[in-house]
């Protein structure tokens, strides 16, 4: 896992900008659009490049479209648009932008005047409807940190109403538009991305069924399948997602990745030979119980274990156990191993079909 953290960092830093158009085919695209300073680049930096939120204060206004290729459990692209760009201008090749789209994420700064932003969103949707009626539009009502709960809901209601009115005036009903209240200063932005990305995952029901089995067989309260780098969860069991369990599972990944980075350095060969020599006389990989990273933390409150199990280079399972179940860890670890095998198979099928 420590290698993974490093490899992924490198990926993110050096990934060349993909050639536009057909070369990038088959990779769903997430488009980040909205007014200037609404927070698009901040979102992309925090979610996909692990930038600490307070450092986004130093981000400069985006001058041209920033294309990021994410190589993860599935490859996708994130396009960060400059706020002032009017891509509905006829000189833009709409198909090059919206052809491979996975979702259009429209970011609205909730701490600012938002009428202009809503108007632009409306005209964008109206323009896209004739040719791209199935584009998922995800509205991020953003920077809601510091706003009261009541105020957040008021804004959301108002924005939804304005969009619905405009669309039905133009004879459009049931356009796929979803709303999320987000902030880079807490987990809400990751939660929102999780929901956006899940819509792009093939075989989601298969994954969910496996996680349901896992929870039932081991008495887990919750199980998440995470993309380790972004900490987006790509599947979970069907019990309702509660923010606290998502938060603790996702933060636990951070803990493990960070510790792995600190201690995962390459030991000298002579030391490894010594460890594999007498009296052990076994390769290190045969001395460990599991080839992939495993970890567990036992909370003092109710002795509740939280478990983490690496699935592959990109994915990890994180599970919240029942109170006091630490004593059955050995059996649970076995069961988790079996499910991991199943998950890997599901992903192979996905790849083969593409």
């Amino acid at each position: 896992m420590e290698n993974r953290a490093i490899a992924q960092k490198k990926d993110a830093a050096t990934a060349p900008a993909p050639a536009p158009g057909p070369a990038a085919k088959g990779k769903p695209r997430l488009l980040l659009m909205g007014q200037r300073r609404s927070g698009k680049s901040s979102i992309s930096s925090v979610v996909f490049h692990k930038m600490p939120p307070n450092e986004t204060l130093f981000l400069e206004s985006t001058a041209r479209v920033q294309k990021d290729s994410m190589h993860s459990f599935m490859d996708f692209q994130v396009w960060d648009f400059p706020g002032q760009l009017d891509f509905l201008d006829p000189t833009f090749d709409l198909d090059a932008i919206f052809g491979e789209i996975g979702a259009l994420i429209w970011v609205i700064d909730a701490q600012d005047e938002y009428l202009e932003a809503v108007n632009r969103l409306n005209s964008t949707i109206l323009n896209l409807q004739p040719n791209y009626p199935n584009v998922n539009v995800e509205v991020f009502i953003h920077k809601v940190d510091g706003l009261s709960d009541d105020y957040k809901l008021d804004i959301q209601r108002d924005i939804m109403q304005r969009i619905q009115d405009e669309l039905s005036d133009n004879g459009i009903e049931n356009a796929p538009i979803n709303f999320h209240l987000t902030s880079i200063y807490n987990h809400s932005i990751f939660e929102a991305f999780s929901k956006v990305i899940q819509k792009l995952i093939p075989h989601l029901p298969t994954l969910e069924a496996m996680l349901n089995n896992l929870c039932r067989a081991n008495g887990f309260e919750k199980a998440y399948l995470f993309d380790v780098l972004s900490k987006i969860y790509i599947a979970t069991d069907s019990s309702p997602v509660d923010m606290p369990s998502y938060e603790i599972c996702s933060d636990y990944i951070d803990v493990i990745v960070d510790i792995s980075e600190i201690y995962g350095w390459a030991r000298p060969q002579s030391y490894i030979e010594y460890l594999e020599g007498p009296p052990w006389n076994h390769k290190l990989e045969d001395q460990v119980a599991c080839k992939d990273a495993e970890s567990c933390i036992v909370l003092s409150d109710g002795r509740r274990p939280i478990m983490l199990r690496e699935v592959n280079k990109y994915l990890a399972l994180v599970m919240v156990g029942k109170e006091g179940s630490y004593s059955q860890m050995a059996m649970i670890t076995e069961n988790v191993g079996t499910i991991v095998g199943g998950l890997l198979k599901a992903f192979e099928i996905t790849k083969a079909r593409k």
Partner: protein, 377 residues
Amino acid sequence: MPLFLIPRDDIQVIDDSSSSDEPEIPTMEQQMNNLSVQDEPVASPVSEPRKQKKKKVLLMGKSGSGKSSMRSIIFSNYVAKDTRRLGATIDVDLSHVKFLGNLTLNLWDCGGQDAFMENYLSQQRQHVFSNVGVLIYVFDIESRDFDRDLLTYRSIITALSQFSPGASVYILIHKMDLVVPNQREDIYNDRVALIQSKSDSFNATPFATSIWDQSLYKAWAEIIHDLVPNLDQIEKDLGNLGKIIMAEEILLFERSSFLVVSSWASDIGKLNPTTDRFERLSNIIKNFKQTTSRYTGTPKSAEQFNLLELKLQTFSLFIQKFTTNTYLAVVLPPGETTFNCAQLNCALARSQFEDLDSPPKRSADRGATASGEASAV
């Protein structure tokens, strides 16, 4: 019995009481401890050599430089963003922090507004500057008038050399996060050189700090490290344990601040290229404690976890509750057997360390036998 605690009145001072999670209602256990603190230990022949060690620590610097912020993060489980709601400190906030190995820090967080500073230097001069063990002086990197800051520092140093010439002085160049990264080193070096030239006969130890990263833990761990008694013995014992269990590294954390108070590394462990790993670990765990506290609904100051295990192909590690006041982190080569043996041995070693770490015995009749009972108190 936890050695570390913040008296209730102290929590009220630094909290604006609008937050829901603090001030925390002390648990029964904490209240008992409060009592025991007020109980001055009765000296007995046995406890005498381990008499409680009190250290007066002055935390000074200009108003707004970040003194109360760092104190709240290190000792009261605040995270960086919580500090935005701290008000200016009026006069001096006193807190008594019980620490590892019978050490009590009397922390004087001295409000830095001009009127207060003048007062410390005049009317309260002797009261403030006598019997000082440590002066921690905080410089705000963003300050617009560094020359003036230096003048104030100079006056403080003069007062300190008058009343506590033997004190140690630490200078923290703080809020480094506000400087563009590629200029940090130059600005820091410039400032430190100037400050040191104004430090009289004191040998001022400098640190670059920010509440937004682990640098704060590095500074405070080193300051505390210089203060904890018995550390030589603890370090030796850690080394012995480490060799027996084939560890690459062993760290001893104070359980509440999660500062690394002692450590040992094997020849291999010493090769680890991540040199700031102690403060990074403190930061990682301290932050995660915030999450677990939110998750379980237990106060941040309460114990949050008993055990963390991590097994990889390149190393394994566990962090476990160790003595009353400490957690132990052990880094090992990979392998199930090594791991299990190490865990067993650490459990066996616990009582030996408990003895070093335990508070002074309260009464003569128990002093002779109670060393193993500390956890039952």
